[in-house]
Symmetry: C2
Subunit: 204 residues, 2 copies
């Protein structure tokens, strides 16, 4: 399955609500959450401030919507990659599939990944707890695959906690350095990273 | 050699200049560069705006000083790690030493690493070129060690570009998740990451 190129539209969202979210994302990428005002977002969207507030009650609500959605979409992509596996009990194939899906996602959703990593500080307490809860579910996908592989003797890594962190963070960072038209395609990077992750876990 | 816990004082810098830099760093971490004004920095430092301008002509100069220094210090730490090696021609030991030094540095300089990664967007063009030049020198340390290891048959990785990116980015991200008092010490994390990097490169 391919990572969605755009955020998955939500049933309750209107087209203009989607447009506001995209404009807010662009502003946050360029100037940061604290450096962006609702007036800036309205200006970039070519609409009135009232129109922005019609869709989102606050700037915090915009950030919450962006960060919740990208993390939910990432989790969905990983769960789908798992469902698509012909053999669910093969830990090495599962880890490779998770890495591939995670890397492809991060080549597609680079702006949201940047905001997701730089603006955790700016989420309100409840929103932060919610996003961290979703992130824990993402981490669990990787950590469970690693734990299963270790238990079955497929992996022989001595430090699974650090290995899980290393795998996820190296894949997240693809969003920082990947540029369309670079020397490798998203598919190639995804395959190579899957190979690197399996080597790191000393997969048999 | 241990990574310096604090930014290396520069010969030309005064104590109060140092204090301003630390306060500006804290403001940028909390609110971002665009979300921070010189007035905010003065307020956080408990001094007048004029006193801030006495040391730094602009907010851009503060960001330049922070980002240049942390990258120069990182490069110096890697070069020192290389000099400290008993056998310079052992590519596996060299890569392990670079990873250890890089990880320790990122457990110590977490705030600067965060600003370094989130505020590249905010550097003026000349400053960005300068910082990227320094970063290229950092990358070259890793890429040269990997290339040497591959040439000598010590490593057997098929995709050295992606391996180099994966190693550096997983180590950089330690700054995001490491917290003092966590389950592993900086030394332990550094050693484990060195092992993970060597496994990833399938070191003999």
């Amino acid at each position: 399955m391919n990572a969605p190129a755009k955020p998955t539209p939500r049933a309750e969202g209107s087209a203009s609500q989607e447009a506001v979210l995209l404009v807010a994302l662009k502003c946050f990428v360029e100037q940061g959450f604290h450096g962006t005002s609702m007036r800036d977002i309205a200006g970039a969207a070519g609409s009135s401030i009232a129109a922005i507030y019609y869709h989102f009650p606050s700037k915090a609500a915009l950030l919450r919507a962006i960060m919740t959605r990208v993390t939910e979409d990432l989790l969905a992509v990983l769960q789908q990659a798992k469902r698509d596996l012909p053999r669910k009990d093969d830990a090495a194939s599962l880890l490779a599939a998770l890495v591939r899906a995670y890397v492809r996602f991060h080549t597609e959703r680079r702006e949201e990944a940047f905001v997701g990593n730089s603006e955790l500080r700016s989420l309100e307490a409840d929103d932060l707890a919610h996003v961290i809860g979703l992130r824990d579910k993402v981490s669990a996908q990787f950590n469970d695959a690693i734990a299963t592989g270790l238990k079955r003797g497929v992996f022989t890594c001595e430090h699974p906690r650090e290995a899980g962190l290393a795998v996820m963070t190296m894949c997240t960072a693809v969003a920082n350095w990947y540029r369309p038209g670079g020397p490798a395609t998203p598919e190639q990077i995804a395959d190579r990273y899957a190979g690197l992750a399996l080597s790191m876990l000393r997969a048999k």
